[in-house]
Symmetry: D3
């Protein structure tokens, strides 16, 4: 059964919904009148929505598989500033009744267009060494495909297929615009903004079962793995300047900003300081965006999110969060 009609992304208040979702964090509780109800989060690859179901039939009193696929029918409404689905009918599905890839989170943006924008920036480098290095990387199909497909994290932010590309692209855009305001080595800054997290392609695995850490990822970590990936390409270029190679290694190793966050050295050059800020800023803005997705204007998110604080959405935001490419 393929996913039809309603994607989580498209839900608004006051809609009649009939669709399939992946159910997470499901539990049966009693309401203030003593009536049992089912509480769960319903996801598909485009987003998620909180759901409640009363009038539970006998077979649902014991709860539902966790996580498990379900077909639901019901009505959306707003509750305390968060969108909610009141379920009227729910049927548990077997894994083979759905197309699992419909439920693996995936970037909303056009991966091909994103990749093209990165490639275009790379081809336009005026620094010959960086241009050559970029070409070498972009033409390694295995690496490039993984770079375009990987999530940026297991859970914290951009945890979706294509998420690494999304994050890298946005960091590149910020780098390009800051390079006009600060006296930096522009191509170096842009190059490292693009590839600072490339080690994620080896730190994480992604398949239908979900996102996980690899053994290599846990023993070495994406910071050192990423520096190795790039250094190995540089070794294929015998004339690459030694000091530039050293500088790139430093920027990649130092991008976490502090040793306690996994960088063996802290940023000691202008470009290293900037790459750290660009990465950190985009990651935190991603956490804000993802934690406030279903919050209505003037409302507050749950406290329990990667930023560990309730987040506020102003009453009259000039603009809501859109995909960055629309924002430009």
């Amino acid at each position: 059964m393929s996913k039809e009609n309603f994607w989580a992304r498209d839900l608004g208040a006051g809609q009649r919904v009939r669709s399939t979702f992946l159910a997470r964090d499901a539990s049966v509780r009693n309401d203030s009148r003593g009536v049992p109800y089912l509480s769960t989060m319903l996801l598909d690859k485009t987003g998620s929505i909180d759901a409640r179901m009363w009038g539970l039939p006998q077979e649902l009193l014991g709860g539902i598989p966790e996580p498990g696929y379900v077909h639901v029918e019901g009505q959306t409404h707003e509750y305390r500033g968060m969108l909610q689905l009141k379920v009227e009918r729910l049927r548990v599905l077997r894994a083979d009744e759905v197309s699992e890839e419909d439920y693996l989170p995936v970037s909303e943006q056009d991966r091909r267009a994103m990749a093209a924008e990165v490639l275009e920036a790379g081809w336009s480098f005026r620094d010959d060494n960086l241009a050559e290095l970029f070409g070498l990387i972009a033409s390694d199909k295995d690496l490039w495909d993984a770079f375009c497909e990987a999530p940026a994290a297991k859970t914290m932010h951009h945890a979706r297929l294509g998420g690494l590309l999304e994050h890298s692209l946005q960091c590149m855009r910020v780098a390009k615009s800051l390079a006009k305001l600060y006296p930096v080595n522009r191509d170096l800054l842009v190059f490292c903004a693009i590839f600072h997290d490339v080690g994620k392609v080896r730190e994480l695995s992604w398949d239908l079962g979900g996102f996980a850490y690899t053994t290599e990822g846990r023993l070495i970590g994406h910071v050192v793995l990423g520096e190795r990936v790039i250094s190995d390409y540089i070794e294929q270029l015998p004339d690459f300047p030694k000091e530039l190679a050293l500088h790139i290694s430093h920027i990649l190793l130092a991008h976490q900003g502090e040793q306690q966050f996994g960088s063996p050295e802290i940023p000691k050059t202008l470009e290293a300081i900037l790459v750290h800020f660009i990465d950190n800023m985009d990651a935190r803005l991603g956490m804000y965006a993802e934690s406030t997705k279903n919050v209505t204007d003037g409302g507050w998110s749950h406290h329990d999110n990667p930023l560990r604080r309730a987040l506020y959405v102003p009453e009259n935001p000039e603009s809501r969060w859109n995909s960055p490419s629309e924002a430009t």
Copy 2:
């Protein structure tokens, strides 16, 4: 005697120097041959240079006034990646022999042009409330003059006359460029980027004696003082939306990013998170710039600077640090 010929900013290796400076951190030591020499840092309003003097006459063996004005004659050269002045003649001056304002650090940039750029941004706000508020602030001559003249800090970064304006302007530029990449309330972001540090005009005092904290600055702090300054203007605008006022207060109070750095609340909106990053990034880039001013390509700064780490200047930087306005 007015300052002539040589400003610290203009010194390069291999120059013959004859000029007056303010001497700091002066002490008489012995070199490895057992010969006493004088070590000091020479400043004027444009910068500083390390100086050494051998062959000390009797009256200098006991050191020199600290801090004190001196007239020196000598030769510049490079030593371990830092520019140095070898002094041949030195005469201590009385304070009334110099124009003290020549030795108070002052922004290298044109303050009028900087102010004009800020004003222009303010006049172009499309949000009527913010436009009106900005107009009110900019037309308060006392506040505005102080805002254009104040240093941004006592020592850490932008510690010079006009430094607050320099820092505010650069934060404004970054805010404008990030507003094109993230779905924010643009005018609000730009407004708060400009005025996040406005409390410095009451936290600090600046006169010929140097920069100092005021009693109000030490008892209340620039974070709360700045929020008050803006809130007082808002109270003059009876129709100003309550929620927008609350949001501005939040952004100003939260701009230090963490409670341990003096913000009573941490950033909980998109704009508050961004203003914190913009401020922090520009401050740290300022610290880098000021700590590496006399470092040659491929050299390292002293470890003892506001970033508490030795900082590296690459061998072939594409560009050296320039005033931001030249960089745009």
Copy 3:
């Protein structure tokens, strides 16, 4: 149905109980013989008691509403140093069957008497400025009523109607007695001890649904809100000394003692240091009192309380915790 007979506060070991309570943290578990039982905490406005029920009828096997009102019948006894209720009969009630205000925690002390003691202290100030300021505040009925009704916190300590007044009064008493031992500005110390937490009236909301943070409370915080409340009254007094106003602002802003706990500046005067200690000490003693309420002599509280440690009640305490007014 109005609450009758048994209030939580009055329960002792070996009593037959028949009353209504609010049930929290309810769950059905199995004992070491494999028999299912219900575990819950029963509250009313005077306190709480742990309860267990065996021999569950069919309709309770699935648990009870959470939180929900219940009518119980059973027997109290002591278990491992904590008072416990063994429930024999339990019936779930609808919200409209009870008077909800019976279950909202409320101070055990006479609010009118407490307010009178504070007012008396205020009227007796010998410092004319502080006396006038106090009079202005106390005669603002809206503020004063809120001050007498607000809880002092959402959960940590004095989380009950009238709790802010209780805490403020006790801090005032401590301030008065310390003013005899240390050479302080007595009236200033007493004034700030009374009003250090006045910002809570805007940080928190309290109604039948329970205690919660306001949007203003989360964006600004009670520290700055409280300083603003008092400063706004001071502005109505044109002759109020500027330096005294500054000192009051400092004491209110610094009362959390450390920046990491939300004070933008740390205490820098004798009175500011003392107000911080008085507040902190009374808050922690309140946490001790509330966490050991049902602990018998020689017993230990749970580890999970605001002080994050198991707390001990000595075997032969000279006195048990009483309401402070009885203690004087």
Copy 4:
């Protein structure tokens, strides 16, 4: 030569001074006109004053002994809110020319009166066990004399002969007044307030050479040493209740409040929490008092003191810091 005429404690602005002092932190610098001057701090057992001397004779150009005794003649005045002595004549003395005990810091208060007040409180205990224990301790002449003579610290606060008694007495007074406001075991609280720091008599040594740590003090520390001192007395009382002994040990061991400050366990009873607060509060108020001794109204102390912050003395303090006994 015995100390005559002028004690540091009595100095005010505009006085002609002729007296002997102990000089610390002496160095010869040059002023802004290039003239060398001597800067030093002059102490005697009653306090200290900053001093400056210009017009240095040949034999003082190389500085003075450090630390060393000096006879000075000069004039006091106020400089930037701090009292200062302008020295006109200075003669270095040999140690055998002075009575060294005149220069060892010593409590300004009457040690006999302080001891009497403590003894009186002890004799009035209504708890027989604590009364007997107190009697045993007070009648051990060696311990009691040491307790009355010891400093409370090497440098931080109450670092003077009789300082431990001063601090213990003041803690006792605070304990007595708080026992009227909180439902505590009064005699236990007062007993532990008096003896919480008794381990200092073995942790520190004091003689003409100054205050120092003993080997025992460095290897075991005053927290455990103090608990041992009291436990050894308790062992002499075979009928002393075991649980009361355990409680006393806990209060003494936990009085630092946190493990990181040297308490092997944190406070877990009402009395233990209170003793920690009483000790900490009096210590910090002592630091304030000692750091602002020479600060004029409206002035600021140096930043470099045990509280690590500049401290403010209000413009119109109702009262200046006096010895606590005068304050009562």
Copy 5:
């Protein structure tokens, strides 16, 4: 019914199991097909194994007693690198149907042999004072039996009967071997390695109900309690050198290494530094061993263990974790 046939320690993949265990952390969940199953951990005194049961009979749908004794029948297999038991039949037992001591964790090693190895080391001391002190301790039957029976902790590591002896013995072995490599007082190092944790015999209680903290343990802590135990024996030896006694007290008090971990003083001698390292190293290796017991080669432990990190077992370990005595 006495425990028969299968001990947790002996289980491997592919075995048919029929035995009794203690069930912990039991809960009924639904699998991805929506089928309910029971998940639990089964323990006996030799170890533990994760278990799953599908096809739940009616009486198990509500879960099982927690903790409770069960008789199970099923098959072992490997799942994601961890050994697991698939249960086919499960019957809940009453506590009186089992011998509870079969389910209290107990050291796998021969306690008599371990004690003999410690005694042998003690008898061979060449330092007469330490030899005499050791003899006194070892001949105090109450203390010695408790030392041989106590667990080393409530949960963290060596939390089993005989665990303290196991840990102390292994620390002794390490001390002996390091004494050959560093110039230490060998007998002192070995003595303190053996008895550094002796305070655990009073900090913890152990009986059929499990391991718990005593009131004394919570109020004083094992660090000070242990130092007291040894100091009391030393007081029985009038000729014991004072300085050696002081050194032993220091080593015992400082063995946690940092104040924040409960040591009132930090290690300041060679032997104190070493005892801290030996204790810490053996404790952490114990945590590793216990957390990876059921992990297969190339697999990862859960993240949730005392070391707070997923732990890796290499694919081809040269040796698996054995009891230390076998390892020697």
Copy 6:
């Protein structure tokens, strides 16, 4: 002039000394009688001694070169538990009058013998892969010579020529003895104990001018540099097992134990945990040894050393610190 007669290492109390040294931290102070004296530390490659000189001739009143070579004549004695030299005659030398290598700190141990012991251990590996890898490394003359010559640190511990070899050898010895007590992969543990700090050969530079950080050392750090050095050798061995290579990288990267100390990942295997402890323990014992070198029995070191605490040398140590090789 070559260094003769007296090496710092051989000095004891009551000796007549006539030799040359390197003077550090020299300054002229006045004693308590007002008499100026020179205070300095005298070093050569074998150690250091504090020195004092009174009766300064005119040319020494201004101090001596810093650092500078001196010829001294005087008498040693003990002062407050530290050895001291009372200088009677002192002459400043030119650098070309001495053999500078006599004053660069160098290991007291026979470097050839130490290297032989490491090589012997390597040749005896039973694991073929590790044996082959070790052989490859040991036969790379450049690397091996640097490994045998490098200091282990710039200042903290083993900061002397051959210090890295000394530290690596001692870690190897500890690893070998712990491998008998814990069930580890012995050869892997020993291999990584030897080479955990190999990155120091690229992080540091050492020549007559002293020890310094390289640019590579500051930008990448010895942790990652060392992992790279070993990984590069492994890449020359095509059949080296991938998982073993990964494990080695993990151990090397994790050897600092915590991210905040520069390890990008924390130890997650038995061998990684052990290598961290072995390194840390030997480093701290080295700091103890070096900080107490001139302390007499029963005395205390200065507080200002890498362990940031005063260190105690017992009154009757069974043995004093010897070179480890003598200790075995």
